[in-house]
């Protein structure tokens, strides 16, 4: 319990520190939301000054931070300068879309990575090992961005899958099955890109952890006792290889809100990515800060979840703490 409380306190401090640094950096960036208006010859300097004052942009940085932090702590995430609307209702639907994409992609990547990693750990020499190494090295070196562009080009050329969006304009009038099919067809490309991006890293970690566990004396002894290799791998070696994978899984959970931002922008997925990018470009700082704080909180929560799982799975950690 003490361990969990200590980790929770660390997570809160991390979020506060990240929010303060982000707030300071955002405020120090040249220009603000109203800068672009200055280029409109029809809008006077007085009107822009009045709008800045209304948004509180003319107050001192510490005053703005304290006001923002206080309202954030009350569950009021501020008002978007661009949308002139509270940030929270703008965030939720986009967060849902992002989570749908990242949860599917992460699950897909893990479901492929574990059997592939375990299998490759058993193929430590020969042409299969070479093939595995080559395939994953190539996949690791291809940027996700390039994959996204290739997949988009495929969609546009072939017409087999739609390019961009989460639902089609006719979505509201569809039946349940057609709705599901519509979402799946639009989810397929960005989810595949993300999963392929994660796959080589995860599979290599699984392989490394499995190899280490397979070389451990207990595994050699088990093999000597004639335990079948499948049983040995999945019942004895895999649980022993779990520690680094649990940490990695926690990290996967923690990056659910942030892992897909760039891919969402490129592939037109209506999640936090395009929303966040536009907010940065427009200097809509209440939105930017809310996204950063939520992403940090989720990252901290993911890491904490991993630590707690490790705590539960590995008695050595319990003993040390």
């Amino acid at each position: 319990m003490n361990y969990a409380a200590r980790r929770a306190l660390q997570a809160v401090l991390l979020v506060v520190a990240v929010s303060a640094i982000s707030f300071a950096l955002a405020s120090l960036a040249p220009g603000d939301y109203f800068s672009e208006m200055r280029l409109d010859p029809r809008v006077s300097a007085e009107t822009i000054a009045a709008l800045r004052a209304e948004a509180g942009a003319d107050r001192l940085l510490p005053v703005r931070y304290v006001r923002w932090a206080a309202s954030f702590a009350r569950g009021d995430f501020g008002v978007s300068l661009a949308y002139r609307a509270p940030v929270a209702p703008l965030l939720w639907p986009r967060m849902r879309a992002t989570l749908l994409l990242t949860v599917v992609a992460t699950a897909l990547a893990w479901l492929l990575a574990i059997p592939l990693g375990v299998w490759s750990a058993t193929q430590r020499s020969g042409w299969r090992n070479g093939l595995w190494n080559a395939a994953f090295s190539i996949l690791l070196s291809v940027p996700e961005l390039l994959l996204a562009i290739l997949f988009l080009a495929f969609a546009a050329r072939s017409g087999l899958l739609p390019a961009g969006g989460m639902t089609s304009p006719e979505f509201a009038g569809m039946g349940a099955g057609a709705k599901l099919g519509d979402i799946v067809s639009r989810l397929a490309l960005p989810a595949a890109v993300l999963a392929l991006g994660m796959l080589p890293v995860l599979a290599r970690h699984v392989r490394a952890a499995m190899i280490e566990a397979m070389d451990a004396p207990f595994a050699l002894a088990a093999r000597a006792q004639g335990i079948p290799s499948r049983r040995l791998l999945f019942h004895h070696v895999l649980p022993a290889a779990l520690n680094p994978l649990i940490s990695l899984f926690g990290f996967s959970l923690g990056t659910l809100l942030s892992a897909s931002l760039l891919i969402e922008v490129v592939m037109g997925w209506p999640g936090l990515g395009p929303f966040f990018l536009n907010a940065i470009m427009a200097r809509d700082f209440p939105v930017v800060l809310a996204v950063i704080v939520f992403s940090t909180a989720l990252l901290a929560a993911g890491n904490m979840a991993a630590d707690l799982l490790l705590y539960r799975a590995d008695p050595r950690i319990r003993f040390k703490t």
Binding site: P30, R84, T167, P169, G268, P274, M281
Partner: protein, 570 residues
């Protein structure tokens, strides 16, 4: 009040009949916006994308026809001007209704302008209603008549009415009185509460994805057969996020119309237009223009010694003229815009047919002439060919431009190459757009800047702050207390005269003179005006893209799907 409302409702509807127009009712039009609109509130909207949607939901009293660039009756069926251009009396159409079925009359018009003029709502459009520091006043002179009193004559004042959406008093008066109008009509508002006089009304908003509009059954325009417009039953705006994604969606058939396509994507789309069932069109230059300008601000009090040192040559007229002569605008049009751009002879693009000064000489690049100008002004060259200013210092400066705009970066790079021929070492510095604006308009820490602007109207008056030395968008030296140079004082005088002159020919003469002075002094070096590149799926009737505004949806109420061989419209 009830009696008045009742009488307005009982009036015979005075629809605007478009006598040449015909089309087929029904169908849906899908169009992608580059980003998500931010609001549906016409009072507070500042971004172009929001305005693009808002214009479909609302109507104004007098409208500028985007095709002819001339004003035409809209909710006001006629108007009279008196008192030397100071008084406008507008006669409203009778029996019109908002999209929720409530009647519209003069009280809605007076209410609308009260809101726009209210300082507390901070409407960016308010400044258009302030002439020489004094507001325009509005009063009701009948159930269907309103009078506008201007503090001073204002040329083409009827153009001011374009873009001022008439608001439903019955929906927004309470919100306004509660001081909440600026927050009204956000994207999350229930569709039934977003009420206007435009051809469509809000049907559905899906965050981050799309916004669907449905036909306004009370719209006040009809075709030659008496059919109420719009023809389309639905218009769906999807949010693409980028020009490339817009291109992909149009190419794959997910959208029906595309606008503001870059030259490279236009060429890509045009390649297989026949097979894919759409037609691409290059309309020639519009109202957008790109230009290079130099920092002519007084920076002596700003601790910018390097900028100040470079102003010794940037401030010389002969230097600016030499730079202008060295730039190969045809090469910019050819290489950056693949030929879909027109070189600029002056600060007004050719797409602005009514106001461009056609007598300005066409730019002809000549390195020899540029070198001659520099030599005559005391510049010289070092042994290694570098240009030296009259004080003997190397001529070296930076050109800042928007890093996110590949066309501008490429233009700046071509200019850098042209200036190399003169021995000038120009450095291209790409900056994020708001950082760029911060430098140009606030810190003044730059030497030269490459930008593009698109005028919202063909008339010079809305852009007056670009020309007046006191203007905030007088980019090369904004917000001067008194004109810094005699030629800026002359431009100030000419612009103020044309602003109150009511005769077009005289205004044109004055504005031609402004353009000639600008090209003589060259605080701004005009570069090119890109062509308007658009496309539409085959079978879209009455598709007449225009130079002004959003180019393709200005007549959305007229667009319709024509019956096609083997099938009905979409």
């Amino acid at each position: 009040m009830l009696a008045l409302a009742g009488s307005a409702f009982a009036e015979q509807e005075e629809r605007l009949v478009l006598k040449q127009l015909s089309g087929n009712p029904g169908g849906s039009l899908k169009y992608s916006l580059r980003s998500e609109p931010k609001t549906l509130n016409p009072v507070t909207a500042t971004d172009a994308v929001s305005k693009e949607v808002i214009q479909r939901l609302n109507a104004d009293l007098i409208h500028i026809n985007r095709e002819t660039q001339q004003t035409e009756p809209a909710l006001a069926k006629s108007w009279k001007v008196s008192a030397g251009g100071r008084a406008y009396v507008l006669e409203l159409r009778r029996g019109l209704r908002f999209s929720d079925g409530a009647p519209m009359d003069a009280r809605d018009v007076v209410f609308s302008f009260q809101v726009y003029l209210d300082e507390k709502t901070h409407s960016p459009q308010r400044d258009l209603l302030i002439l020489n520091g004094k507001p325009i006043t509005v009063r009701q002179t009948g159930t269907f008549q309103v009078a506008f009193d201007l503090p001073e004559p204002y040329a083409a004042a009827e153009r001011l009415f374009d873009g001022f959406a008439i608001l439903p008093r019955h929906v927004l008066e309470g919100v306004w009185k509660a001081g909440k109008l600026a927050d009204a009509w956000g994207l999350g508002s229930p569709p039934s509460q977003v009420v206007g006089m435009g051809p469509f009304r809000l049907k559905e908003y899906v965050p981050g994805e799309r916004l669907a509009l449905e036909r306004n059954p009370y719209y006040w325009k009809a075709d030659r057969n008496g059919n109420r417009l719009p023809y389309l039953a639905e218009a769906v705006f999807t949010f693409a996020g980028s020009e490339d994604m817009e291109t992909l969606r149009f190419q794959s058939g997910e959208t029906d119309v595309i606008s503001r396509v870059g030259a490279k994507n236009f060429a890509l789309l045009a390649r297989d237009q026949a097979q894919r069932g759409y037609a691409m069109r290059a309309l020639g230059p519009g109202l957008e223009y790109s230009f290079l300008f130099f920092n002519l601000n007084d920076v002596s009090h700003l601790s910018l010694p390097q900028v100040s040192a470079r102003q010794r040559f940037l401030g010389r007229r002969a230097f600016r003229e030499a730079v202008s002569r060295a730039i190969d605008r045809d090469a910019i049009a050819r290489l950056v815009y693949l030929g879909y751009a027109a070189p600029l002879a002056g600060p007004v693009p050719a797409g602005n047919r009514a106001w461009v000064n056609g007598s300005l000489p066409k730019p002809a690049p000549s390195v020899a002439a540029a070198r001659g100008l520099l030599a005559a002004d005391g510049f010289s060259w070092s042994r290694d060919g570098a240009l030296l200013d009259p004080a003997g210092a190397r001529v070296e400066f930076s050109i800042v431009t928007s890093a996110g705009n590949a066309d501008r970066v490429q233009m700046a790079t071509l200019i850098q190459s042209d200036l190399k021929e003169l021995g000038i070492d120009a450095h291209v510095v790409g900056l994020e757009f708001r950082s760029l604006l911060d430098r140009v308009l606030r810190t003044k820490d730059y030497d030269a800047c490459l930008l593009s602007l698109a005028s919202g109207d063909a008339d010079p008056n809305p852009d007056i702050n670009v020309w007046l030395s006191s203007g905030g968008t007088h980019l090369w030296n904004p917000g001067q207390q008194t004109p810094a140079t005699p030629w800026e004082a002359e431009i100030d005088g000419l612009m103020r005269r044309q602003m109150v002159e009511l005769r077009y020919a005289e205004r044109k003469r004055l504005f031609d003179r402004v353009q000639a002075i600008a090209m003589r002094e060259l605080p701004v070096t005009p570069l090119v005006s890109p062509a308007i590149l658009v496309g539409a799926r085959q079978g879209l009737g009455n598709f007449r893209p225009a130079a002004m505004g959003d180019h393709v949806l200005w007549n959305i109420e007229e667009l319709n799907w024509q019956a096609r061989p083997g099938g009905a419209g979409r």
